[in-house]
């Protein structure tokens, strides 16, 4: 049984995860204003600083770091927004690529390469599809070694992971 299946069958764990989800959603909102301030102020300070000086380099580092955090926050916000999207015709290959982009941003992949091959078109809710693909990727990452390649092969509405996991859409 995979990590997510185990959690889903354990009621207290499932409730804790639900609560964590609500807290994360709130935190993503609360962190957005400080991030605007951090990255925005760093960008203004960068344009005022003299290139090649230590202050410039330090501000540039602050700016880059802020942008990295911003990317994580935005990826999670986009995931949440996607959950409200209605059922539609969608490319599973593109959805898998999006799921890989999200997981690569927010989960430590330890040099594991994630990739997708093939494609299929299904009618589904984009948010639910991405959520299930993310779960599959996290399961696969749980059993992967550093430097492994995890490939999601899409064929006829079925996503098969190289580690053995499968998702039927």
């Amino acid at each position: 049984m995979g990590i997510i299946e185990r959690v889903a069958t354990d009621a207290p764990d499932a409730r804790a995860l639900q609560t964590l989800g609500l807290l994360t959603r709130g935190a993503l909102h609360e962190i957005s204003n400080p991030l605007v301030a951090l990255v925005g102020t760093a960008e203004l300070a960068l344009s005022d600083a003299e290139p090649g000086t230590k202050p410039y380099d330090r501000i540039a580092l602050t700016h880059r770091t802020g942008l990295e955090i911003m990317e994580i926050v935005r990826a999670l916000q986009a995931f949440i927004r996607l959950q409200a999207e209605p059922e539609t015709e969608l490319s599973v290959g593109a959805a898998a690529a999006d799921a890989i982009a999200l997981v690569s941003k927010v989960v430590p992949t330890h040099d594991t390469e994630l990739r997708v091959s093939g494609d299929a078109v299904v009618v589904a809710r984009p948010g639910e599809t991405q959520r299930r693909l993310v779960e599959l990727l996290i399961e696969e990452l749980g059993g992967a070694e550093r430097g492994d390649v995890i490939e999601l092969e899409v064929r006829d509405g079925v996503v098969t992971a190289s580690g053995g996991g499968e998702l039927r859409l």
Binding site: R25, N33, L35, L44, L67, L76
Partner: protein, 120 residues
């Protein structure tokens, strides 16, 4: 071009004003939608950039009020993006010129402002 920036968060408001000022616009910041409506009754602006989540009157309620008073004035709404899907879809229905998801970069703010003013 005169731009009214409405945000109850002082750091974001002042920063947005400064970015727009450095981009060649004439921005003015106010801390609430009510203050913005008062100002809009007295002065003319080419664009409004407003936060969504604000106490007293939300950005969407503000947009609704503005549509009654100044139907042609373009409005960009800034939103956290994960907390208020109903509010943002209502904003689209009311004809917001753009939704700017926080956190945003200077380039994204400038591009959305330029696009909203161009359409106008």
């Amino acid at each position: 071009m005169r731009i009214l920036v409405v945000d109850d968060e002082p750091v974001v408001r002042e920063l947005t004003v400064e970015i727009l000022r450095r981009s060649g616009y004439a921005p003015q910041g106010v801390p609430s939608a009510r203050r913005a409506l008062e100002l809009l009754d007295q002065e003319s602006f080419d664009l409004v950039v407003s936060d969504v989540v604000m106490p007293e009157m939300t950005g969407v309620e503000f947009l609704y009020e503005l549509r009654l008073r100044r139907p042609d004035l373009p409005v960009i709404l800034m939103t956290g993006g994960s907390q208020e899907p109903e509010r943002t879809s209502r904003a689209v229905q009311l004809g917001a010129a753009g939704l700017l998801y926080k956190p945003f970069s200077h380039a994204e703010l400038r591009a959305m402002v330029a696009s909203a003013l161009e359409r106008d």
